[in-house]
Symmetry: C2
Subunit: 87 residues, 2 copies
Amino acid sequence: MFVILVYDVGVKRVNKVLKKCRAYLHWVQNSVLEGDITESNYIKLKAELSKIINTKEDSVVIYTFRLPRYNSRETLGIKKGGEENIF
Amino acid sequence: MFVILVYDVGVKRVNKVLKKCRAYLHWVQNSVLEGDITESNYIKLKAELSKIINTKEDSVVIYTFRLPRYNSRETLGIKKGGEENIF
């Protein structure tokens, strides 16, 4: 399935969260990632993120799509992220 | 069409950008909004945002979908946004 993930977490946890997300998804913008992911990896990612974040302060929103992907992605201003997938 | 918008802009412009976006979309999380929007309002929103942001520093990513909407939206941690649409 296709996933768009947006995180809003405390400064101390940003690096850990981004690193974990990049293991599964492509980085789009500072706090946004996207990508195709298997159901089992999706469950794994959520479990791993839940261990990192402070559930009283942080927020991670995940949109999932069966198909198709989005029709377009437009960026106004600068492009802050990349397309590469470290995994 | 259905839109997911994520902004990452300088502190000085956050309020203006959020206010403008909320005129057209629902606020989901700190920097994320979503909602159904007409093609003409979509063009209007982009034009208005382009006037507010500093295109050398700020970034706004907009995903558009013809249909259907996403299959699920999950939130880990706290829910920072609302569902209300001020417009």
